[in-house]
């Protein structure tokens, strides 16, 4: 691609790309990490082979795009221009799909989404209930563009916000727009982005740095990954606009190494932006110089904390340091630094293009814009969801998420990763915004939302998070290092039926102590999963302690597996799968479990068709 020399040339290129767009049908296949794991690569290959075999390569395009969000139904695809949405596609469907395009777009019925409530097939993506309630201002382009082709991004208006800023905005006006939009940090704490930028601008120290925090370490969260995989240029454009406003010449993007595809796409996008004259020296003839460095994390959850992240970029161990000084005062190599999350940076071009007031009109009084959640766990429609701030949990779970599988009852919703908390089903009408969630003992966090049903044990969930945090605590400060260990020990004790009632007070006391005295955000929020489950599910803790019973039948030392001999048909499936040879009995005769040998792995329960395996 030729180097673009002015904002005007970006505009011209966009018009030219739009004009050259043919009416050629295009099959855009989601090739995000989720769909790839479901076989999207094979589908892409099969489609290309089919087109080649029939000499249709020039007539029908095939495009591999970023994540469309509906991971549950992957691989998914959209056939343009009719916008027909297919889900659960496999490579053997390639022929039918190509046939349908050549035969006047008669859709392939069996690949259309089937509404589980009405049983009706749905033709278009925007009519699928999962998408219908969303407002996709950050993720909307994911299904349209090839993340590895900068021209696709420019065609949908990409880099026009940068052009606008370079021609019409002073640096102060950009900061003012971000401030007026009400945008708050999407990484967790929700600090107003405009205020952070303003604080940096007050500093006279040079050079200044900007950093994109893409160390998405929360288990159960993958929004940042999907955005970097699917639309890396939107983040790059946000960074360039930020660099202009903040007079920074270098940016660092810190990405988790566990996200190889995101790293690959971002790397390619940075290269393309450089070739196109959007990065490097004299960007679009404006005289502005700016470079982006890509840094890969090395597997440490604490590096999502901003001071630890900066230490890691500098090549040191990722240990946090006390704030103040804040990074805007003393950041990378002691210089003023602004750190924002991936989605925060990607929101900036949207705010510039559509206007701060438009952005501020979405959401609630104090939480503006949209928030992206990864809706996962015991939910029918797993995937990425972008909704205006303020929608209720009920809308999320039942309208977008399609409810709980297997007619089970909703028990709790865990929001905000290990720093967040569990909100009970009784609070389902809670609106999702920063303040409401914090008040409920949880937090927005980066947007992980894990749905839990009646088969989930809340003591086990608290124990799980504490195990995670104990492992990931960097060990620098005492309250977090020792405190998370003690909490884990107490929870382990309770889940083994060896807890005492006084343990609950101990959990509470120690929890608050850790919150108040830890050095960084990791420790200050670490007890949240314990405190929130104690607050809402105290009875469940008490059942473990008093009755030595796990109501959800999860805690291994409190359950026994048995076979109901009246139901068992002797199919031998459990015998084959048993890891400890604990299932006894001849084929075609009812089996028995030797509880002395049983290691309670639950494999028999998984495979038993007639549901003869019981858990007590």
């Amino acid at each position: 691609m030729l180097k673009l020399k002015s904002p005007h040339e970006v505009k011209e290129l966009q018009l030219c790309l739009e004009a050259s767009e043919t009416t050629r049908p295009c099959i855009s296949v989601c090739a995000g990490s989720g769909c790839c794991a479901s076989g999207a690569e094979n589908v892409l290959q099969a489609l290309r082979r089919e087109l080649e075999k029939r000499g249709l390569q020039g007539t029908i395009d095939v495009k591999s795009t970023g994540c469309h969000g509906f991971c549950e139904k992957g691989p998914v695809m959209i056939v343009w221009p009719e916008k027909v949405f297919y889900n659960g596609v496999s490579q053997s469907d390639a022929k039918d799909i190509v046939n349908s395009v050549t035969n006047g777009h008669k859709p392939v019925e069996k690949l259309l989404y089937k509404d589980p409530n009405t049983g009706q097939r749905v033709l278009h993506e925007h009519d699928v209930p999962f998408y219908a309630r969303q407002q996709r201002i950050l993720f909307g382009n994911n299904g349209k563009i090839d993340p590895k082709d900068i021209r696709d991004y420019i065609k949908v208006g990409g880099y026009s916000a940068l052009g606008k800023v370079l021609t019409d905005f002073s640096r102060e006006q950009v900061v003012e727009a971000v401030k007026r939009s009400g945008l708050r940090g999407r990484g967790g704490a929700g600090f107003p982005t405009g205020m952070k930028w303003e604080a940096l601008r007050r500093s006279t120290v040079r050079p200044r740095y900007i950093v994109c925090n893409a160390d998405e370490g929360d288990p159960g969260a993958f929004m940042d990954r999907s955005l970097l995989e699917g639309n890396p240029h939107s983040v790059i454009e946000g960074l360039i606009i930020g660099a202009y406003a903040l007079e920074a010449e270098q940016a660092y993007v810190y990405v988790r190494a566990e996200y190889p595809l995101a790293v690959e796409h971002l790397h390619a996008a940075i290269e393309q932006a450089r070739t196109a004259g959007l990065l490097g020296e004299n960007i679009l003839g404006s005289g502005m110089d700016f470079r982006i460095h890509l840094v890969q994390g090395a597997g440490a959850f604490v590096c999502g904390e901003e001071t630890a992240l900066l230490a890691s970029i500098e090549g040191r161990v990722g240990e946090p340091h006390p704030r103040p000084p804040y990074p805007v005062q003393k950041g990378l190599w002691g210089k003023p630094t602004v750190i924002n999350n991936v989605k925060t940076w990607a929101s900036v071009p949207v705010i510039i293009n559509k206007g701060a007031d438009w952005y501020a009109s979405i959401g609630t009084e104090r939480s503006k814009g949209t928030m992206v959640f990864s809706l996962v766990g015991k939910i029918n429609n797993t995937g990425l969801v972008e909704v205006p701030m303020g929608v209720t949990l009920r809308e999320m779970i039942y309208e977008i998420g399609g409810g709980i599988p297997k007619e089970k009852k909703l028990k709790a919703i865990q929001i905000g990763g290990p720093s967040g908390g569990c909100i009970p089903a009784s609070m389902i009408d809670l609106p999702i915004d920063y303040e409401a969630l914090t008040q409920a003992g949880s937090m927005m966090g980066s947007g992980g939302m894990v749905v839990m049903d009646e088969d989930t044990c809340m003591v086990d969930v608290a124990r799980y998070f504490m195990e995670f945090l104990e492992e990931e605590s960097c060990g620098k400060c005492f309250p977090c290092r020792e405190g998370t260990q003690r909490l884990k020990e107490i929870l382990n004790r309770i889940s083994r039926g060896k807890g005492e009632e006084s343990d609950l007070d101990l959990l509470d006391d120690a929890g608050w102590m850790i919150k108040e005295t830890s050095l960084c955000g990791l420790g200050q929020t670490a007890p949240n999963p314990v405190l929130s489950t104690l607050r809402y599910f105290r009875d469940e803790y008490l059942t473990h302690i008093r009755e030595k019973r796990c109501p959800a039948k999860v805690c291994r030392e409190l359950i026994v597996y048995q076979i109901d001999e009246t139901i068992c048909d002797g199919c031998h499936a459990c015998v084959r799968v048993c890891a400890s040879d604990a299932v006894l009995g001849e084929k075609d005769k009812p089996h028995k479990i030797d509880s002395g040998k049983c290691i309670k792995c639950g494999a028999c329960l998984e495979v038993c068709q007639p549901k003869a395996v019981l858990v007590h």
Binding site: C71, G299, T382
Partner: protein, 173 residues
Amino acid sequence: MPHVEMEKVEPLLEQYEPQRINLIPILQDVQETYRYLPQEVLRRISQKLRVPLTEVYQVATFYRCFSLVPRGKHVIQVCLGTACHVRGAPRVLDRILLDLKMAGPGTTNDLQFTVETVRCIGCCGLAPVARVDNKNTHPHLTQAKVGGLLKKYQDKAEASRTAKPDEASHAEA
């Protein structure tokens, strides 16, 4: 400890400016090349970057993705993210360890497999998942699928020695 091919280090170091900021990227390259961080190589990096060996060691032991002992030919990362946890990942992990006769995550004696846990690889929609060799993601795992998964990566000779025939045939079902 296997013999360390030191001749691979210099070309690798050449790609970077000898500055501290490049310590982690260099260690990542070394980890990929050798499948662990050999002591001799750490000494060389310390010398070249002028970073004390104690600090190189500190970084090498702080981050999860580095290992000071050789890792297996295939690295199985079992995701223990929240979504995978509530959908049964701990049981899948136990089954993998049991089948490989391991007491806990680590490397098999024959250096065929390293089993490690990761906290979310972002495929929560397909939980529980495991990723092998950083590229192949195996979705919707159950204990019954574990045998087949391991068999796929086992060397042919290895496979005939360790896999139980009835289990292997059942696993694909």
